[in-house]
Structure formats: C-alpha cells, structure tokens
C-alpha cells in the first residue's frame, strides 16, 4: 500500500476512494477438539483394511490428505508414533505366523516365508504411499527411520527374536533366521542334486535376507561353510566313482551353475567365495588323480576333455603340474618306442621270426615317432592352447569382463609356448636315449623316401622329408645322422637309385639350413662329381673309339660306365678285394685304356679303382646235358659276382672250391664265398614238383657240393628260367642250407656291419673334430683356462661330448706338443706354436 502516492494521480484525492481492508479473524479458527483422534481413527481403519486386505471405504487420495492435514496441523510426532506402534504390532504378528509353521518342511516353510515377506513388502509399500507426506516431510527431516525401514526393522528383529512366544517352542534356537538359513541351504542342496523346483523361492528368500541386511551377516557364512563341506564331500566321493572326464564335467557344471545361481538366486557377493570353494574344495585336492588320467586321455586323443582339464587346472594354478605330467607322458610313450629299437631279437626262440618283427618295427619307427609328434602337436595346439598358466586365475569365468580379455590372450600364447617347449624337451629326451639308433633309423627313413616308394608321390615324399627334419632337430648326435645320410646318398647316386634329383636337392638345402654349409659342401661335391664323370666319360668314349682298333679287339666303351669320385667327398666304400681283384681278360684292356686316358687328361692325379660298388651284366649260356640248344640268360650282378662266375666260363664242367675261385680272381675268400652262395641259392620259387620228380632245382645257377672247407660249386646245366634277364641278389646274409644258420662274418647281418662301421667312422671323425676345435681355440687364444677351453670346445662340437673325452684329447695334444700346461698355474693351458 505504500505505493499509493505514486500510483494515485494528482487531483484525484478528495474523491471518495473505496478501500478494501482485509481483517484477520478475531478469534483463531480452532481445530475440532478431537481432530487428531478422528483422523487417526480413519487412518487406522484404513491401515487395518490394508493389512487384512479389505477394501477401504476411503479413497487413497483422502487418506493422503488426512496424513498431510495431520502433519500440517502439528501432529506429525504423534502420528509417527502411532504409525510406528501399528507397524510394529502388525509386523510382529505377521512374523509370528511363521512360528506356528513348525511342522512344515523346508520348501513349504520358505514358501510361507516368501508369501509373508511379499505381503509385508506390498502392504508396507501401500502404507508408505498413504503416509508418504509423513515419510518425506517429517521422518526424513527429523532423522527418523523411514516407514519402509521401520517395517523391515520390525520384521527383521522379529525374525531374529529368540523364543518370542515363550509358550510356543516352534522356532529352534537361533530364531527364525536360523531356520530360514537352514531351510535355504537345504533348498540349495536340493538344487545341487538337480531339483531346481524351489529355486525361485530361494531367490526370493535371499533377496529378503539381503534387504533385511541378514544375507552377509547370517546367511553367507553358513552358505560358504555348507558349500565347502558339500564340495569336499562330493570331491572325495566322486573322484573314485567317476571317470576323469566325468569328474571334469562335474567340476565344470559346478562352476557354471555357481555362476548362474549367484547371478539369479543367490546374492552376487557370494560368487567369489563359492567359485573358490568349487576350485579349492572340489577340484584342487584331486589334481594328482586327474593327472594320472592324463595318459588315457591323450592316448584316446580326447581333445575336448584335455582342453577342459587344462582350463580347470589353470584355474587352480596347477598348469605346471599338467606340464610335468605331459612331459612324463611323452617320455614314457616315446621311451617305449625307442626301447623297441634297442630290444634285440632273442636268438633262441624263433630267432628268424622275431628278427623279422624287429625289422618291421624298425621300418615303422620313424613313422611312429612322426605320428606321435603330430598327435602331441595337436594336443598342444587344440587342447592346451587356451590355457593360462600361473596361479590366481580364480575369476577366469568372468575374464571377459573388463580388461582381462587381452591379458588372457597374451597368457594363452605364452602357455602354448610353454607346452611347445615341453613337447620339444620331451622328444629330445626320449629320442636321445638311443641317439645313434634313432639317427640311423632316421637316415634310413630319409633314404627310403629319396629312393621313392611305391604309391608315394613326390609331393608326399617331400612332405615326409620335411617332417623327418623335425626329428632331426631333436637329435643330439646329428653327426651320426650325417654319416649315415652321406653313406646312403653315395649308394643312391652310384647305384642310380635316387627317385628324383629335385627331391635330393631339396633335401640338401634343408640339411644346409640345419647343419651348415660345412657339412653339405662335401655332399654338393658328390653331385658335382657325377656331372664331371659324365663329361669325362663322353670324352673317353670319343678317344676310345679312335683307338679301339689298335688292340685288334673292339672296346665296348659304350657299354661301360664309371664314376669319378673325389676322395674325401665320398664315404669310404673300399673292400679288401679292391687291390687284389683281377678283372677278367675281357675288361682289362678297357681298364688300361681308361687309366692312360685319365692320366693324360688329369696330370698328377692318382686313379684308384673301387670295385665293390660296380655292377655288370653277364651273358651266361647253359647247355642241357642231353644236347640241344644252349639257353642264354643275361645276369645282372655285382662286379665281384661276375668275376666269380667268370671262373666257370673257362671250366664249364668243373667243380671249383671257394679257395680256387678266390685264388683265381683275387677276391677275398669271404667275398668269393658270398658270391658263389648267391648263385647257388634259388633264384625264384619253383612250382611244386609233380609227384616227387627230380628235386635238383632248375632255379639255381650253380650247384653246391661238399661243405665247410671242401665247399665247391659247379654249373647247373638244368638251369631254366622264363625270364631272359635276371638280377641275382647278393644276399646280405646267405642262409646256409646245410646248417640252417645265417653265414656272414661274426653272425651279424650286413646292415649291422654297415651300422657298426659307420659309427666307427663317426667316432674317428669326432676325435678329429675335437682335436681340431681345441687347436683352433688355443691357436687364437694362446693361453686359456681349463674351464673356458672346455666351454668353448663344447660350443663348437656338434655332438654331445663328455668332459672326460675332451680332457683326454687335451692331454693327447699336450703329448703331441700342441699344448702345454702352464707351469705357474696348472689350470691354464698354453698353445705351443
């Protein structure tokens, strides 16, 4: 009103202005005396309607207003107290209903709890809506408990109440909570047994407990304790009752149901302790038993089970134990494979049969190793790949959340590496239990592949060679392989047995990568020799045809083939007969003429003849005793065989002893005997003679007479064959028909002789290598401490050397004045220039 002055225009005063005056009540309007009581009565009846689920005659809106009125009219304290009492009474009464349900079983009891709880929640929520004004404007600002809190608080305290109704002894000691917990655990137990019917009840009860703040304090400790006991029991029961895969499945199922239940029924806070319990109580104690089952799983290539095993073991940080078990498995299985190589055939019982068995086994050996390797590789790749090693991975099932994903991946790669390394060390271990036999078998395997096998394409052979190099990498004594390889290569080249020069070259380059150029340079020299031989032979043929007539006899230079081998490039293939052998007259001019040709072309080079690998085709003619047309055959034989056979050409009807043949030919007696026996052996099987006809075989070239020192041979005039050209095999061991024994020097087979001889060469070479390494190092260092020298030598050597072996060589070099011991310090050596 103070604005009047400015608002009223000048001159307007004086006119009768009407004023509006508002006056306060003279007497404050008073609430009816019994306003609170009446309103409360109205509210109370509404409350009861809510609690007893009767329809209220008064609308919620009106009730709300009533509450608001009471609060505005300064009755909130009273109202709050009344409501409080009301809620307390109702809550207690409702919870009290549970006490009388002692006869119910767990699920019915919990269902009852659930119903009451849900009622309680719903009603409490309604009440709170009615009393919302009180709740928000008064309770909140006066730091009093809200209505929901109030209700839940009474509910909770009533649950916790011990023996509330003294007369009723329904609730066991520990109150209703105790019974709820026990019943819940019973439901959980049933769920674990597979009965999931009550899981929603359990869920509701758990949510109730969580809401009432009873979950962590009362339920979870019991839950964890109970679960641990359960898993401990289940573990010890199941580990003997179930197979390993079944047990693994069980663990897996327990883990995933625990995950599931802690998401949906139990509170999330229980996830970690429960998962841990599965791992530590169900799984961890039985890891040793599970690992015992590893062998069977790998044997049967149960990749899925293996993968599960690896994943579960990683969870409990036992990947290392798995790795160890895997290693032992490889060593054991591989060890058995290798052992078969060693097992010599028992000489007494069925010697021949078991020797055959062994031969077949040896043939299979590398294939077996490669198959085994491939299988193990698959196990590593497919089963152990995702394994994260390292402990503390108990949260693995949720690893996809947050940043664990990436870390897990890196871990997996590392685990594969770890298992790869295990695989490698396992193979190295067992293969090198018999390093020499393995190296030899590998070389033979490669030889077979390079000679070509029936039904094996070049691509397949190449793949096989590539895989053979895998085994090669595991070998500790690579030099043994190299020696055998070289020997077999020489044979393939000289006898023209190699299936493909491309394969040979491919293999050579693989070896170059693995063994270094130092080794392959000699092999390359072998190939170069062959090319050179061809050129040289062409030159010789030109000059030979020019000088052919000079001798009066035509030189069959065209039917003549030779290899010029650089000494040192080729393995020694000398025979004691090389120097003494007298070539048949037919061949001598050829030999002479080539020798003079060679000397003329390559001055200063020495030509040595190595006959033991030579072959010849001999025309043999047999005159039937009753006259008639002589039968002529071409015999493909070794030069030694040809020379031995040639003796009978001069005396077709004579019996010649081994000694006579040896003397005539210059062959060593053993060699001569072997050749002669080869001709006296049946060349092909004869059809069964019809009714005891003449048994003297028409399938033998020579007939044998006498035995032992008097052993003699004569031409078999009856010899008859459908084939004109035949190869007469020079058996590695000729079975002596008279004694039934195999006759070769020392009773060993030729293959064994060859192995022994090759190994001897390897050992000689090793001594040389060792000496060379020592001298090389000392020459560079002049003065060196013993241990340093040993270490450097070890590093240079390509075979596993024993300390004592090297020391022996050092001492030998000292004796030969290459080195001396430092007089001032005996642990030092000095190089003597």
């Amino acid at each position: 009103m103070s604005q009047n002055k400015t608002l009223v225009p000048v001159g307007s005063s004086g006119q009768g202005v009407r004023k509006l005056v508002i006056k306060p009540f003279k007497v404050q309007p008073k609430l009816p005396e019994n306003f609170f009581q009446e309103t409360w009565a109205k509210l109370q009846s509404a409350l009861h309607a809510v609690y007893f689920k009767n329809a209220s005659s008064i609308s919620k809106e009106e009730l709300y207003r009533a509450v608001e009125d009471l609060c505005v009219q300064k009755f909130p304290v009273q109202l709050y107290e009344n409501l409080n009492r009301e809620i307390e009474a109702v809550s207690r009464q409702k919870v009290g209903l549970l006490r009388s349900s002692s006869s119910l079983d767990a699920s019915a009891f919990l269902a009852h709890v659930e119903t009451i709880w849900l009622d309680h929640c719903e009603q409490l929520s309604t009440v709170r809506n009615i009393f919302l004004y009180l709740d928000r404007s008064f309770a909140l600002t006066s730091s009093l408990r809200g209505i929901i809190d109030l209700g839940n608080g009474y509910f909770r305290s009533e649950l916790e109440q011990l023996h509330a109704g003294a007369g009723e002894n329904a609730a066991p000691s520990g109150g209703l909570v105790h019974r709820i917990v026990a019943s819940s655990l019973q439901i959980l137990h049933e769920m674990r047994q597979g009965d999931l019917s009550q899981r929603d009840t359990l869920g509701a009860v758990c949510r109730m407990l969580a809401t009432l703040d009873l979950y962590t304090s009362r339920f979870e400790p019991a839950l964890v304790a109970e679960s641990r006991q359960f898993f401990v029991d289940e573990g010890s029961r199941s580990i003997s009752a179930l197979s390993v895969p079944q047990f693994l499945l069980l663990v897996d199922r327990r883990l995933s149901e625990t995950m599931d239940w802690t998401l949906r029924h139990l509170d999330g806070s229980s996830r970690r302790p429960l998962l841990q319990s599965v791992e530590q109580d169900l799984l961890a104690p039985h890891v040793p038993v599970l690992l015992e089952g590893l062998a069977a799983l790998i044997d049967d290539a149960q990749l899925a089970d293996l993968k599960r095993l690896a994943r579960l073991l990683a969870l409990v940080g036992r990947s290392d134990a798995l790795r160890q078990a895997f290693l032992s498995y490889i060593k054991a299985v591989g060890g058995r494979l290798v052992q078969q190589l060693e097992a010599a055939p028992s000489s007494s019982s069925g010697g021949a049969a078991s020797a055959k068995d062994k031969e077949a086994r040896d043939l299979r050996f590398i294939d077996d190793v490669l198959d085994f390797q491939e299988k193990m590789e698959r196990v590593v790749e497919e089963a152990f790949k995702g394994t994260r090693s390292g402990a503390g991975a108990s949260d693995a099932p949720v690893a996809t959340s947050n940043g664990l994903g990436a870390r897990g991946l890196g871990g997996a790669a590392a685990a594969t590496d770890v298992f790869r390394a295990t695989l490698k060390s396992g193979f190295e271990h067992f293969l090198n239990q018999q390093p020499r036999q393995v190296a030899e078998q590998l070389a033979r395997y490669v030889d077979r592949k390079l000679r070509g096998e029936q039904g094996v394409s070049e691509t397949e052979a190449e793949a096989a060679l590539g895989r053979a190099m895998l085994v090669f990498k595991f070998l500790a004594e690579k030099d043994v392989f190299e020696a055998f390889y070289k020997k077999f290569l020489a044979k393939r080249l000289l006898l023209e047995k190699s299936a493909s020069s491309e394969l040979e070259r491919a293999m050579l380059s693989q070896l170059k990568a693995e063994c270094g150029a130092q080794f392959t340079s000699k092999l390359e020299g072998m190939f170069a020799d062959l090319d050179l031989s061809a050129q040289c032979l062409a030159l010789f043929r030109e000059s030979a045809s020019a000088s052919a007539s000079a001798d009066g006899r035509p030189l069959s230079g065209d039917a003549f083939q030779l290899w010029l081998l650089t000494q040192g490039h080729w393995p020694q293939a000398q025979s004691p007969s090389d120097d003494t052998l007298r070539l048949p007259l037919e061949l001598q001019p050829l030999q002479r003429s080539f020798a003079s040709f060679y000397e003329a072309h390559f001055q200063g080079r020495r030509l040595l003849w190595s006959h033991s690998l030579s072959r010849a085709v001999v025309a043999a003619s047999f005159s039937p005793p009753g006259g008639g047309k002589p039968r002529v055959y071409d015999l493909d034989v070794t030069l030694f065989q040809a020379v031995a056979l040639r003796c009978f050409s001069d005396a077709p009807d004579a019996q010649l002893t081994v000694a006579q043949v040896a003397q005539q030919t210059g062959l060593a007696p053993e060699e001569a005997k072997l050749c002669l026996l080869s001709f006296a052996a049946p060349l092909f099987p004869l059809p069964k003679p019809a009714g005891g006809a003449s048994s003297s075989g028409a399938n033998k070239l020579l007939l044998r007479h006498g035995a032992a020192d008097a052993l003699a041979f004569s031409v078999n005039p009856q010899f008859e064959s459908r084939l004109r050209r035949m190869k007469v095999p020079l058996p590695t061991a000729v079975r002596d028909a008279a004694t039934g024994l195999t006759t070769t020097a020392g009773g060993a087979t030729a293959a064994q002789d060859e192995s022994a001889q090759t190994l001897e060469e390897v050992f000689r070479e090793r001594v040389y290598q060792c000496d060379a390494a020592i001298v090389r190092i000392m020459k560079a260092r002049k003065r060196l401490q013993h241990n340093q020298l040993m270490a450097e030598v070890m590093q240079q050597l390509r075979f596993p050397a024993q300390n004592a072996d090297i020391k022996k060589r050092i001492e030998a070099l000292m004796e030969r004045d290459y080195l001396e011991r430092d007089p001032d310090d005996v642990s030092f050596y000095k190089y003597l220039a």
Binding site: Q785, H786, N787, M790, N803, A804, K807, K808, E811, M814, E815, D817, E820, R821, P823, V826, S827, F828, Y829
Partner: protein, 216 residues
C-alpha cells in the same frame, strides 16, 4: 721339445780360489765316457761313478741330482761331453774325491720349490727311453718313492697303491708333473677337490678310486 732345466746351479756360481782346469775336466770325462760312444757318458758310466762315490745309483736320489748337476738334460740316459764340461765347471769338480766332498750338498732337501720342480721334471726326461715320450708305469713306480717323500708328496702312498691297481699304463710328462702340483694343491683328505677341474684324467680316476676305497 724338452726344455733344458733352467740351470739351478747358476745361482751358486761361487768361484773358489782353487778352480779346476778344463784339461782336468776333459780327462775326468774321458775316464767315464761310454766306450762305444766316447762323446757321452751313459747310464753305465754314471753307475760306475756312483759306485766310486759309494752311493746306490738305483735307489739314492743323489745319483739323480748328481746327473742333473753334471749337466744331463738334452737326452735321456746320457750326458754329452759339452754338458759334462759345463756341469763340472759350474760345480768346480774334476775328480771323484772332489765330488765326494760335495755329496752332502746334493740332497734335494736343499732345493727350493722352483729348483725342485726343475729337478723333478729332469728326472722324467732323463729316465725316458730313447724316443719314447712316456714312461712305463713300473718304472714310474720305481722313481716316485726315490724322488718324492711323504713330505713333498702326501698322496704318494695312496697314489702308488692306485697305480698298482691300474692295468697297463704309460705316464706322460704332464701326468708326472701334475702329480707334484697335485700334492701341493689338493689336501690329503681330498676335501678341496673340485669336479671338472683341469687335472689330467688320471687324477680324476685317482680321486674316484680313493672315494670308492673309502680312503677319502
């Protein structure tokens, strides 16, 4: 190539007032020279000398010390004229009697470590046969107790037993010399023995033998 022992006697180059003449020494040499090779004194010649001196050439260490002092070294089992003349000049002797007077000084007990080492090496070289570089075990087993005693070589007794039990064996100069070093380096109870050391293999075997026999 065997080294000439770095002459131990050079240190004692005392020139007594009455020095013997080279003619006297030549005559002394001639009296001992091998009738078949007058340019050197053989083992037999040395034996005669020892006899005259009254010492047992086959068991008295002084015989070996004397041989070294008289200049032996370039060849096993003999002393050349030049060596002898130089040796006697350094010793300043030309007669048996003069050597006799010096006998007490020939005890190796007087030698220091280096001198003894040279002497010890000399013993091996002097006892080699012709062009052989090694010496048969039996001869070694004869020499060791003469040259060494349990003072210088505590391992001697065990080592002799060990050698006894070995088969055919020839000992190299390195093994011979190492034995002396071994004695000063390795305690008798082998407590400071280390595997994988530089000792010749023979000593690895010896240690193993000792351990197997429970004597270590």
């Amino acid at each position: 190539m065997s080294k000439k022992p770095s002459s131990a006697s050079t240190a004692k180059r005392s020139t007594p007032s009455s020095s013997v003449s080279s003619t006297e020494r030549e005559e002394f040499f001639n009296s001992l020279a091998d009738p078949e090779d007058p340019e050197s004194i053989s083992i037999e010649g040395l034996g005669t000398l020892c006899e005259q001196l009254g010492i047992d050439a086959s068991s008295d260490i002084r015989a070996l010390v004397l041989a070294q002092k008289l200049g032996a070294g370039s060849q096993p089992g003999k002393i050349t004229r030049a060596e002898f003349l130089e040796g006697t000049r350094l010793m300043n002797v030309a007669t048996v009697a003069q050597i006799q007077a010096r006998l007490p000084s020939l005890d190796p007990g007087f030698m220091d470590r280096t001198e003894f080492r040279d002497f010890y090496r000399f013993v091996f070289q002097f006892n080699r046969e012709g062009t052989h570089k090694t010496i048969e075990k039996s001869l070694i087993m004869g020499l060791l107790p003469i040259v060494l005693d349990s003072n210088r070589a505590p391992h001697l007794d065990f080592f002799m037993q060990f050698l006894e039990q070995q088969g055919e064996l020839r000992i190299t100069l390195d093994q011979w010399e190492s034995f002396l070093q071994f004695n000063s380096a390795i305690r008798l109870d082998l407590s400071n023995w280390e595997e994988g050391g530089a000792w010749p293999l023979l000593f690895d075997d010896y240690v193993e033998w000792r351990k197997k026999n429970g004597s270590a």
